[in-house]
């Protein structure tokens, strides 16, 4: 079946522009995560959804970052007034896991969106 898809794959934005990054998780996956990966670093957690509920947004670096998943499927990560330090790869992952079941499932990652802010 189809894996996690993300679009666009590459985005170049001028400083100050707003951008929207899309994630299509694997069908039926309850949990959805966004991570930010700077060049040469490991991914860092941004935010987590269980269905349409955003349960953890503690990793969002500023109030310029906003994420939503209104119907519990597709998610959008929006960055307002982009800055050069926002340049990174943004990874989306989905999982069957639900904290309530206590069972851990692996996270399946999309290919990422490489954002370059000039």
């Amino acid at each position: 079946g189809a894996g996690v898809s993300q679009s666009p794959r590459y985005k170049v934005a001028k400083r100050g522009q707003d951008v929207a990054l899309r994630c299509d998780p694997i069908s039926g996956h309850v949990s959805l995560f966004w991570y930010q990966q700077a060049l040469g670093q490991g991914p860092e957690f941004l935010t987590y959804f269980q269905n349409e509920a955003q349960l953890d947004k503690s990793g969002l670096p500023s109030d310029r970052f906003f994420a939503e998943r209104p119907e519990g499927s597709v998610s959008t990560l929006k960055i307002q007034r982009t800055q050069q330090e926002d340049s990174a790869v943004y990874l989306c992952a989905s999982s069957l896991a639900s904290p309530r079941t206590g069972r851990v499932h692996e996270q399946y990652f999309g290919p990422g969106t490489r954002l370059t802010v000039t």
Partner: protein, 110 residues
């Protein structure tokens, strides 16, 4: 901030040799996972080891976990050129999110 550290940061070996990468972490965990990332691509899950397990095998991969030392190792046996990639360990604790290390860049020379 990153939870853990991998070492070495970079490793270069010849095809057929074994590759060992280490990971250390700071807080208590439920599980530790290893992921592979090829250049410009997303992360691929390799193996998960639970906090009450000490060793796990999957094909040419062997993972160990020492919770008393807060460390794990990934061994790739009989390496191939296609194993060239970055390898990350990731931990999860009280919440489902993963906390990644900074990765080891493995180069396998044909």
């Amino acid at each position: 901030s990153q939870q853990g550290e991998e070492d070495p940061q970079a490793l270069s070996i010849q095809e057929g040799e074994n590759a060992t990468m280490n990971c250390s972490y700071k807080t208590s965990i439920n599980n530790l996972q290893w992921y592979r990332q090829n250049s410009g691509r997303g992360l691929v899950h390799l193996i998960l080891i639970r906090s009450n397990e000490r060793e796990k095998h999957s094909g040419r991969l062997r993972v160990t976990l020492d919770t008393s030392k807060k460390s794990s190792s990934l061994l790739i046996t009989a390496s191939r050129a296609a194993d060239t990639a970055s390898y990350f360990c990731a931990t999860d604790g009280k919440v489902s999110r993963l906390t990644f290390g900074e990765g080891t860049q493995l180069t396998v020379n044909p």
